[in-house]
Amino acid sequence: MNLAQFQQVSEVEWRIAPFGKMRVPAVIFADETLIREMDDKVYEQLTNVATLPGIVQAAYAMPDAHWGYGFPIGGVAAFDADEGGVVSAGGVGFDISCGVRTLHTGLRADEIAPLKQRLADRLFARIPAGLGSTGELRLNTNEMDAMLRGGARWAVEHGYGSAADLDRIEEHGCMAGAEPDKVSDQAKRRQRDEIGTLGSGNHYLELQEIVEIYDTKAADRFRLRVGEVVVSIHCGSRGLGHQIGTEFLKQMVIAAPGYGIALPDRELACAPIQSPLGQAYLGAMRAAINCALANRQVITHLTRQVFADLLPGTHLTLIYDVSHNTCKQESHTVDGQSRRLYVHRKGATRAFGPGHPALPNELRDIGQPVLIGGSMGTASYILVGTEAGMTRAFSSACHGAGRAMSRHQATRQWHGRALVDELASQGVLIRSPSLRGVAEEAPGAYKDVSAVVDAADRAGLARKVARLKPLVCIKG
């Protein structure tokens, strides 16, 4: 992007003053290299978001921002219901509550090294991944609704994991306000056999080695030690969330003129929070959040089974579970006043700082673990929410590397088999049902995740705690 379009606030903060129909400024957090390489569409989409009714303070973009649907991926915007604020299906995206959870294995990398191949094979056999894969659960109408109301708590009640897991999940594993009757039969039909599946695209399950610690105090509290192995799971609400996104996007596009909303882009389709359509979407979207939480909980259980078989006595404990495609009602201080706002995070991670009441007791004084996914060959990071972050971008940070190259370009540049072999030679075992899928997700097709995380750290959005290196990647 052309830097002349911005007012540079600091080395990692770039501001666009309101113009045209913008109600608030737009702010991008990124270093100069990241922002230069950022797609022009981010500028267009972020300034469009800033025109939406009831938006508060500013429209924000994280350092991993790229061209999305209506909102840029890496976009954050908050709305006040009492000021005509809106909720946007595009602002949450199709993969509602897509997110990352990371688990301790308590094992050292050298302990699992002799079993790496077998772990990769067994995890790949046990965890359904890729197009058309199905889980073991078949949910009837009542069970589907119970799952959509209960989230990970429902999964725990059905024997998937333990109650101790729930404290380490946002919303304590169960999103309040879910309304299964606002979820269409079509969406439920699409989900019937998809609970406990990874999906495809950029979703994965990885074994990762902790290779560097930046903040020893937070690392101690998260129990992260160099040389130890963690498991990270990246997936979302599967077909149910996709269908809810699709259906409400259309309804909001058609209804917007009736609400007096002139959409600069159809993908920005939205409805007033206080309208029947806005409320219906919130009820359905919260049900999809629960679906994603249940999904990651079931996959966690399957992962634990594999470890129990191959490494008896191993206990996988949850560090934290974050969702990065959501709209949540939260309290934030704006101009010295506490306000209840609907915060959209599309490809952005919530990053509550120390003292936040939503955090579990044992993490409250240190801040929330912020889990940043990598891309097969590259690093992942664990950060921690900060005090400063609470006054910036409504306690939000980046969510991953962000794509730098289209899938088309990626398949022209890399071949799946060669890439799998090359990564194996670097010690990263890839298991995937699709070689073309692997090529499309080549690490080189993504931005430099380390630069993204550094920018988030320097901007005060969240602080770096640890870097993780992939050992095994089950790719959907």
Binding site: Y69, G201, Q243, T246, M405, L435, R436
Partner: protein, 140 residues
């Protein structure tokens, strides 16, 4: 390029699908083939099992997105891939048959699952050769 055909166009994170034909219905059929090609080679998909699809929308563009989303739903819920399409349009009402077969991982080597058809780069219009073009980006 003229004539009945489909193609992909680039999008940073996802994939653009474009169908071209002498009528809107033909362009819709080609766009559906382009969407199958995001997942696998359409020529590898046997046209065994017919599925009837009906949808309606206020305009051609929204109808294209509805059509592709109806296919995505049927692919996901029935675990099918589609290789042949027949679309009939009556105003903004669409009646179609899609033929396909169950997903076979070895045979189809599916690259990716499609989450939804979007309004990004959405268009249903005549191209410079007077042919109908139907396109949008699909989220994968």
């Amino acid at each position: 390029m003229s004539g009945v055909h489909w193609e992909h166009f680039p999008h940073q994170a996802d994939m653009g699908v474009r169908g071209v034909g002498p009528t809107v219905a033909a362009a819709f059929e080609q766009a559906a083939l382009a969407m199958t090609a995001v997942v696998t080679d359409p020529l590898k998909v046997a046209a065994d099992e017919p599925v009837e699809i009906r949808c309606e929308a206020p305009d051609d563009e929204l109808l294209l997105v509805d059509w592709l989303n109806a296919l995505i739903l049927e692919m996901a819920a029935r675990h099918l891939l589609f290789g042949r399409f027949e679309v009939r349009l009556d105003g903004h009402h669409l009646h179609a048959t899609a033929w396909g077969e169950p997903i076979d991982l070895d045979k189809h080597q599916p690259a990716v699952e499609i989450k939804g058809a979007t309004y990004t780069e959405l268009g249903v219009r005549r191209n410079e050769f007077g042919q109908w073009l139907a396109q949008c980006v699909v989220d994968v």
